[in-house]
Structure formats: structure tokens, C-alpha cells
């Protein structure tokens, strides 16, 4: 009988339960999504440029589990607050406490299992959806990623079942402890206003100090290595929480202290609501800030890896195209491109080496890159080779014993030849390279060739053409070696780009995948927490309406209040990202390339959640006007 009753009242409170269910489903599906990557170590290891990627995933899994536990605890107390009044009433009417506890236990567990079923399905759909989306967007095909992954499913079910069992038990115990009157009178507690004293200032200082230390560790990651990673992550996290616990309430209090601002329209109420929120949401806000940092950081990291592919190839090669003995197709393709600079150099080749004409080189000296991996800056523009070549002949790649009477090719010329002209190690295979004057050149017996260097406006625009050109150059190398079976590796700009891209795309995929997962989790965490407390605010808005506050003012107050709640963690989180990207500086040329892309993605997701939260909250606290 009682079960029937409780079931029918659950149906009546469908709307509240829906909020709860949606929250649980989101958390479960994201947990599953994460596990499909984390547990698939073949995929993560095979597709990452970071050898210690598994550590990153383990830390991530731990964090996610931690957050999920918090999430479930919130969800649980929300559930309890929904039911306690009614269950208390049954007890007053004479139902046995054991029976009521039992009802609550099963209710919580059933709710959890329902959420698990839906969450698993949503998780699988979400994983394959986001997986496909990313693969299409990023033009990659991560082999070995399975949206439906049985170990991940096991992990999710195991983890959440244990959690739900624990929370159900806690609920039952809590109920068993409370008296009938406690239950019926629930919700009437007031917001306690704590005075903030010297302790708060100390906590705030400690928080700032820890964040500063964390930032320092991240910036000096080159020196501190893995230790820096741990110090950075640990100190920043704890510091963030401390700041939200101490500094934010003080800040809101200061807003309220401004009498003029406070007396304006509904501001007194808006600020009071805000103060209540920052006091009760400190931990959530801290968590949200950290999740934002992780989410945006993961995306920015992934994106930076991809963007760095271009940087790496551009830092190595100035010329987008190097063609030895260009064919008719090459010229046709070149004709369609927007060529900025194009030089052609003659050379002869015999079995001992390559002989370039000094006059050709000096007439059109090539550009060389001034960037090195150790010391990269986008300010370093390519420079033209200016070194004079007074001697009749120079040599590089020489065997130690031979030609020892010849001058070594000067440094800049050597760089130009090795990075821009010689496109494959296979071209050399024992041959030397010489720069010789006209007279010597005429005396050399080998076959005559020419090499064309070209710079175009944006080489990524011409990927198919470049690919075809590289293909023909490979064939050319095979031909000059008269060895069709030979494996040839090119190091033109495009080949470099392609190779590094393949190498980093897996990392980028994971970055975006994780980033979106974290962001979705974060925002739903915040939304859920705000909504679960909304019923309490109903009376306040009703009161204001009675004394004659315009509807539009009330709505404005909600927008302002929630905006501020949303904006604080966003600011802190983004600052963390900006500093935290330093972490990648030891592996990436420029961690900050296109950082605005993940920032924009984040802001878009966040704005959508903000809007939905405001609308849902409004629906709860403001009655529909007749």
C-alpha cells in the first residue's frame, strides 16, 4: 500500500524528478564517455604523442569520479528534500519507521538504476556522436576507438551501483534518525549569515598564495618536470577552492556594503540572493572553475597540438614546394597556385655527388628559417642567405677522407641546401653536395638537372596538389637510384606536415573529447545545484510579487544574479587555462595558437547552460501570470 502511495506521489512530482533524472543521466553518460577512452589503453597509447598519457587519463578518471561522488551526494539530498515531508506525514499517520526507510531505500536505488539504464544508452549515443563529429571535423580516423566498449560499461555500472547503494543506505539511515516533526517541518531553515573575520582573510591569502605557487610550477615546468605538473595541479586546485570559500563571499559582501548600489531597485534582494548562493555554492563554484580549466585546457591542448603541426613544418621549411626536374603536371599545378616567390637552380649530378652553380645561387639567394625548436617565436621571420661565396668550390656531406682540400659550405648556405633543396635523405646515400663556380661546373661530366623552390600564399590550400607533387618527387628519387622497390621518405614541407599531423591527431581527438565531456559535466553540475535549491526561493519571489515588484524586474534580478554566479568560475577557470597552457611549452612550439577557438566553444556551451538555467529557474520561482 505504502509503495503504491509513494509511487503515485512520485508521479505527481514528475517535474522535480525529471530534473534529478536528467542530472544523473548526464553524469552517468559523461562518465561512460570518459571511460571509453580511459580504459581503451591500446587506443590512447597508440594515438598520443605524450608517452605518459595514461597518467593523464588516470588523473582525469580520478577527478571525474570525485566530482561524480559530489554530484550524487547533491542529487541525493535533493531527492531527500523532495520526499521527506510526505514520508514524515506517513509516519505521523502511523506508518512504521522501518517500512518508510525501506521505501526510501528502494526509491533511491530504483531511481539510480533507471538513470543508469538511460545513462548508458545516452552515453553510447553521445560517444559515437561526438566521436564521429570530431573525426569529421578534424579529418582524422582514429582506428580502434569504440563508442560501445564493454569494459567501460562494466566500469560505469559498477561505480554507480556502488554509489547508489551507499547513498540509498545513507538516505534510509538519515530518515531513521529524524523525528516525525523534523521531517514535516523541513525546509524552514534560514540562511545563516556568518560574520567574516580575520580567519577569512588568512584563508583568502593562503588561497592566493597556493594559486600563485601552482602557477609558478606550471610556468617553470621545464625545470620542475613531472614534479611541476603535480605541484601545479595540486596547489592550483586547493587554492581555487580556498579562494571561492573566502574571497568571493567577501566580495559580494562588499557589493552589498555600497549603500547607493544596494538601495537601487531590487539590488538589495539580488545581492542577498547572490550572497546566499556564493556561501552555499563555494565548493560547487570551485569545482566548476576547475572543470572549466580542465575542459578548456584539454581542448586548447588538443588544438595546440594540431596547430603546431603547421608551425613545426613551417619552422623547418620556408619553401612550400621543392621540385627536382619539375614535370609538365607540376608546372600546370603551380600555374593554378598563388605563387609568391619562385627560384630555379641548376645542378649536375654524378655518382659522387651534386654540384650546384654558385652564380645561380648568388643571383637568387634562397630564404632560410630562423626558428629552432629550442627557441621558437612567431616573430622570427625567414631571412635571405647573405653569406658571400668567395672560394671556387665548397662541399658538405663529404666523406671524411675525400675532398679534404675543399672549403666547408658556410652555415646559412648549408641550412638552405639541407632543409630546402635536398628533400630526402634517400637523395644523398653517400653523395656529397658541392657549390662550384661556372668553370668547374662546366667541367663536370654528370647529368644536368634543376631544382625549383616556390613559396605560395597558403600551402594548406593546395593539399591535393602538393600531395601529387610529393608523389612525383618520390618517383623521381626512385628513378635516379634506378630502384623501384626503394622506400622513400620525403621531408618537404607538406610531407612533414602530413607526418606530424597523423602523429598528433589522436591527441587532438582526445583533447576535444575530454574537453567537451568536462564542460558538459561542469555546467550541468552548476545548473543542477542551482535548480535543486530553487524551490526554497519560491516564497521570496512570491512575496516580492505581492508587494508590487514588476515582473520584468524580478526576471532581471534572476538574470543578474545567475550571471554573476556563472561568471566567477568562468573567469577563474579561464585564467587557469591561460597559465596552465605553459605546461605544454616543453613539447609544443606555441601552446597559445588559436586559443580563442576552445575559449569560444566553452563560452558557447556555457552561455547555453546559463540561458537554460535561467529559464528553468524562472519556471520554478515565478508563477505563470494569468
Amino acid at each position: 500500500m505504502l509503495f503504491k502511495l509513494s509511487f503515485s506521489s512520485m508521479r505527481k512530482m514528475m517535474k522535480d524528478y525529471l530534473v534529478l533524472l536528467v542530472g544523473l543521466v548526464i553524469s552517468i553518460s559523461i562518465f561512460y564517455m570518459f571511460q571509453t577512452l580511459a580504459l581503451n589503453s591500446d587506443f590512447t597509447k597508440g594515438n598520443s604523442v605524450i608517452s605518459s598519457i595514461q597518467i593523464v587519463f588516470n588523473v582525469g578518471a580520478f577527478l571525474l569520479a570525485f566530482i561524480t561522488i559530489f554530484y550524487i551526494v547533491y542529487a541525493n539530498s535533493f531527492l531527500l528534500s523532495l520526499r521527506r515531508k510526505e514520508l514524515g506525514m506517513y509516519m505521523v499517520l502511523g506508518a512504521k519507521k522501518g517500512k518508510i526507510s525501506q521505501i526510501l531505500f528502494w526509491e533511491t536505488l530504483m531511481m539510480g538504476i533507471a538513470a543508469l539504464c538511460i545513462g548508458s544508452v545516452v552515453g553510447i549515443v553521445l560517444s559515437s556522436g561526438i566521436g564521429n563529429l570530431l573525426m569529421n571535423l578534424l579529418e582524422i580516423s582514429p582506428e580502434g576507438y569504440y563508442p560501445f566498449y564493454v569494459p567501460a560499461l562494466w566500469m560505469t555500472w559498477g561505480f554507480f551501483l556502488v554509489l547508489f547503494l551507499i547513498t540509498s543506505t545513507i538516505n534510509a539511515i538519515r530518515l531513521a534518525r529524524a523525528t516525525e516533526l523534523d521531517l514535516i517541518r523541513a525546509e524552514q531553515q534560514n540562511d545563516s549569515i556568518k560574520r567574516k573575520g580575520i580567519g577569512t582573510i588568512l584563508v583568502a591569502l593562503l588561497g592566493l598564495l597556493l594559486v600563485a605557487a601552482g602557477y609558478y610550477a606550471l610556468i617553470e615546468i621545464k625545470v620542475l618536470q613531472v614534479l611541476g605538473l603535480f605541484i601545479g595541479a595540486g596547489a592550483t586546485t586547493i587554492g581555487t577552492y580556498l579562494i571561492f570559500i573566502s574571497l568571493l563571499p567577501v566580495f559580494v559582501q562588499a557589493l552589498k556594503k555600497n549603500q547607493k548600489l544596494n538601495d537601487h531597485q531590487l539590488h538589495a534582494f539580488t545581492f542577498a540572493q547572490l550572497r546566499f548562493r556564493v556561501n552555499s555554492l563555494t565548493k560547487v563554484l570551485g569545482t566548476v572553475a576547475m572543470l572549466i580549466a580542465l575542459g578548456v585546457g584539454a581542448m586548447a591542448g588538443g588544438l595546440a597540438f594540431q596547430q603546431n603541426v603547421d608551425l613545426i613544418s613551417s619552422a623547418q621549411h620556408v619553401y612550400d614546394i621543392t621540385l627536382h626536374d619539375p614535370a609538365e603536371e607540376d608546372f600546370q599545378a603551380l600555374h593554378k597556385m598563388n605563387v609568391i616567390e619562385q627560384n630555379t637552380y641548376r645542378y649536375k649530378m654524378d655518382e659522387k655527388g651534386y654540384y650546384f652553380v654558385k652564380d645561380d645561387l648568388l643571383a637568387h639567394p634562397p630564404l632560410i628559417s630562423t626558428n629552432t625548436f629550442e627557441n621558437y617565436s612567431s616573430e622570427n621571420k625567414p631571412k635571405r642567405v647573405t653569406e658571400p661565396l668567395p672560394h671556387p668550390a665548397y662541399i658538405m656531406y663529404a666523406n671524411q677522407d675525400e675532398h679534404s682540400n675543399l672549403e666547408e659550405v658556410p652555415r646559412e648556405w648549408g641550412k638552405a641546401i639541407s632543409t630546402e633543396i635536398i628533400i630526402s635523405y634517400d637523395m644523398l646515400s653517400g653523395k656529397a653536395v658541392q657549390i662550384v663556380d661556372g668553370a668547374t661546373y662546366d667541367g663536370i661530366a654528370g647529368s644536368e638537372h634543376q631544382v625549383l623552390l616556390a613559396q605560395v600564399d597558403d600551402y594548406l590550400k593546395y593539399k591535393p596538389e602538393l600531395k601529387a607533387m610529393d608523389q612525383r618527387q618520390k618517383q623521381w628519387i626512385k628513378t635516379i637510384h634506378e630502384d623501384e622497390e626503394r622506400e622513400v621518405y620525403l621531408s618537404t614541407k607538406y610531407s612533414t606536415y602530413e607526418a606530424v599531423y597523423a602523429f598528433t591527431s589522436g591527441t587532438m581527438f582526445m583533447g576535444f573529447f575530454l574537453g567537451i565531456a568536462f564542460l558538459a559535466m561542469m555546467a550541468s553540475c552548476l545548473m543542477f545545484k542551482i535548480l535543486s535549491g530553487a524551490t526554497r526561493d519560491k516564497d521570496r519571489y512570491n512575496m516580492l510579487r505581492k508587494i508590487g515588484v514588476r515582473h520584468s524586474l524580478l526576471i532581471g534580478s534572476i538574470y543578474k544574479e545567475l550571471f554573476l554566479v556563472f561568471v566567477f568560475p568562468a573567469l577563474v577557470g579561464l585564467t587557469h587555462v591561460l597559465v596552465g597552457m605553459q605546461m605544454f611549452s616543453f613539447i609544443l612550439l606555441d601552446p597559445y595558437v588559436n586559443i580563442w577557438v576552445p575559449t569560444l566553444i566553452f563560452l558557447a556551451i556555457y552561455a547555453i547552460y546559463y540561458y537554460i538555467t535561467v529559464q528553468l529557474y524562472r519556471g520554478i520561482v515565478l508563477p505563470k501570470e494569468a
Binding site: 534560514n190 542577498a272 505581492k546 508587494i547
Partner: protein, 255 residues
Amino acid sequence: MSGSVLDVKNVQKIYGKKGESQSHALKGVSLTIEKGEFVGIMGPSGSGKTTLLNVISTLDRPTEGLIEIAGTNITQMRRNQLADFRSQRLGFIFQDFNLLENLTVYENIALPLSLQGVPSKEIGTKVNKVAQTLAIDEILQKYPVQISGGQKQRAAAARALVHDPAILLADEPTGALDSKNAKSLLETMSDLNEKHQVTIMMVTHDAFSASYCKRILFIQDGKLYTEIQRTGDRQAFFKQILDVLAELGASHDVR
């Protein structure tokens, strides 16, 4: 309409749609309250007194009839106009105080003025003045949880009065107070009425509270039943009220 603050003409309120089961909460009530009056509305539960208060306080719309407050017809107003009207021309005291517990007493009282865009400085003077009148100037910086029920109701009264409303509407203001605090509040209200010419309409079912009024309207089954005027002292008036109530109860029982 020279001195009349409130004019209610033939007001009807029907709940429920046509064709369905309808309930007639008000069946044509007319009444007039002059400036400076202290009028009580009494009646058994279900008689329609709360509905009457709701339509007068613009929280609900009458189905039929006309309501004018200080010369303004409120039955034709739009939503925002109504909200503004409430915040500028009406003062409310509710049984459960309706203070916002997350604001200080000062902020609660200041709210109606803030809504009207009164400068911060002026708000300060006005709040302090009304707080002195109601003897709560010591607790302005406290929060509702930190003060007693009597103080809460005084704070609510201060909020209702701070913007100089045309009429103060009180809904069972003593309902949640002990007898000592109730008495003190009623004395304050009659003080406000006599010394500050505040017009008050109070809904109550408590004869003792009602005895502080100058005139009492009794309603039953959505209609005005009778009205009595206080002529002598409060004690005699109290007896008079009890008599009418007995009569009301009797008529109820017989039918």
C-alpha cells in the same frame, strides 16, 4: 468622491470556468472606506473575506464590478501598472510577516522605496523615521531570524508604511503573534490611524483584534451581512462584535 479612499461597487468573483462547477466567492459586494478610517472585515472562514482582500489588493481580478482606490480604477489596469500601483499606493501586512529573511530589517523596509527609485539618502531618512514611529530603530541592521515575532510584524508594518500608501491592507496581522505582541501591534495600528491619519483595512476573524477598529463590516457567503460602528469604548464594542458573531453563527446553524 471627496474623501473616499476605497470604493468597491457590486464586486463579484467567480472561480471556475463557465459550464463547469463554479463557486461564487463574492456575490456583489459594495463598500466605501473614507480617508482616515480603520475598518475591519470579519466573517467566518469561507465567507469570502480573503477573496475580497485579494481583489482590493490587486492580487486577483474581480469577475464583475468596479474597484477604485484613491480615485484610480484598478480593475482595468495592465499587469505592470498593477505592480507599480501596488508598490506605490498600497501597503501590506500579512499574517506570516512576509519579510525576506535574507535581507536585513532595514533592507526590507527600504524595498518599496528602492523600487520607486528614491535616492539612497532619502531612503535612509524615511526608513529611520518610520522605524522610530514603530520603535524598531534598534534592530534595523538585524536579520528577520534574529528578531522576535512582534518585531517582525512591526518591521512588516514599517515596510507597508514607508512609502506613504493610500491605504494599509492587513490580513490577520495578529494571527501569528502571542497576546502581548498582538495587543502592542494593535495599539500601534490604532495609534497610526489616530495620530498619523493612516487609512487601514484589516481582515480578521478575531473579535479582540477587531475591537480596535472604528467600523466593522461582516460578510457571509460572499455578501455583506451587516456593519457596526464603534461609538463608545473598546470594551463595549468588543461585546457588540461578539453579539453579531453569535448572530452570524446562529443563522448559520439554523439553516
